[in-house]
Assembly symmetry: C2
């Protein structure tokens, strides 16, 4: 291990067991500042973050994300929002009509930059000794979340994370071997059957170790989830928000 | 400043001036490992990274990204790929048909996770004393890049970054005020005219300080870029790769 930043990144795990200890205003401000300074495509800054501490709001988000109790328990939830309302304000300010949000490119760059913002906030939180878990489940009911947070046209709540002091430290979930992730100079192929079987066995051992013997293997879990559009509201609600993706 | 990780995140800037000093295999392996351990939606691991060190390939990428000479100069380029070919291999392994990649949800979660991977790699590189700059310009010519890297059906090169030792340290570009990024409990509105004017003036001062007095203000630059789909190949090439986004 070369330094504390690398340790933080390499030791990533998803924390879902929180105490009720509050996160200080100062730590929260630092976390949001780190996210705010993260790289932004063409300096457009088309991402916003809603910081949620109110218990009632977190309880509602836990519910609409499919019953994720840790969102209600952890004292902070950050909702990362693709915010082309902000850049539309810039365009209107100089009398120009914004078009980018109607394209797949626009939604894509919004999503990429939201991921960058999320990762930066999570790394900052971990460096402060806090636990955090990424939440994509907010896309299960995006219309309700938009209403709850008062989000405007040309914005979309794409991902979030809970932040708090953790009550217990989870085991790190094994990943596919690095060779399936890293390709040198050119793409070298998908994982072969033996690699998938070996990782499935790794993951099975992990589920047993954490007392969830019904946990699915990677191939079964991924295949089952990806056999359907598991958040089917993303497309119609994004369209209603102005993200037509027809260009 | 509380710790080195926060300092790394808060001091983010885009490095575009590199020496020819090589990045060690060990540092590169560490950077890719940090990206590999980053959060992955439902542990799907539908992202891959192509590590490019060959000069000819980097020269070609610099060209197809619109003439970004720093890609040719910096010794390493990481291309972050949305890789639903990998999860398709898992689905086939258990006799299930993958559908997610045909939906906007699928492309979105691919983009978000690619952003997370990119940010993790960039933070790791910075912590090792390396410079780095995010590159979205690879989407200017995605078909050529797909051919160059041998990327398969169901994959898309969405973003990348250059990595190397920097020859000079750039000034940090000012951002919009944190209030335009952070919303507490609920969304509070777009930046008003006075805020936009003040930030435009900040950015103008920055361009003058770095000797580029022709640099655009935020409102003018964003409005001009976002008045069109500045990477119009994203939608048709993604469709050709299997990302139909019609669900």
């Amino acid at each position: 291990m070369n330094n504390a930043t690398l340790e933080t990144l390499l030791e990533h795990r998803s924390y879902r067991d929180y105490t009720e200890q509050a996160v200080s205003d100062e730590d929260l401000a630092t976390i949001v500042s780190c996210a705010h300074r993260a790289p932004s495509s063409v300096n457009g800054q088309h991402v916003s973050v809603v910081v949620i501490r109110e218990q009632a709001t977190r309880t509602a988000i836990a519910e609409l994300a499919g019953g994720q109790s840790w969102i209600a328990k952890a004292p902070v939830f950050l909702c990362v929002v693709i915010d082309f309302a902000k850049t539309d304000a810039a365009a209107r300010h100089v009398g120009i009509t914004q078009v980018l949000h109607e394209s797949l490119e626009g939604f894509a760059v919004g999503c990429v930059d939201a991921g960058i913002v999320l990762a930066s906030a999570m790394t900052a939180a971990r460096s402060l000794g806090l636990g955090t878990v990424a939440i994509g489940g907010i896309r299960a009911n995006p219309a309700k979340l938009i209403e709850l947070l008062g989000l405007p046209h040309l914005s979309f709540p794409i991902v979030g994370c809970s932040i708090g002091y953790f009550a217990s430290e989870p085991l790190q979930k094994p990943r596919l071997p690095i060779q399936t992730f890293r390709h040198d100079e050119a793409w070298h192929g998908v994982p072969d059957a033996a690699t998938i079987d070996a990782y499935d066995a790794d993951l099975k051992r992990y589920w047993q170790e954490i007392g969830r013997p019904d946990g699915l293997t990677w191939s079964q879990g991924t295949a089952t989830r990806y056999a359907r559009v598991y958040h089917p509201e993303t497309k119609p609600v994004a369209a209603r928000q102005g993200f037509l993706v027809d260009k």
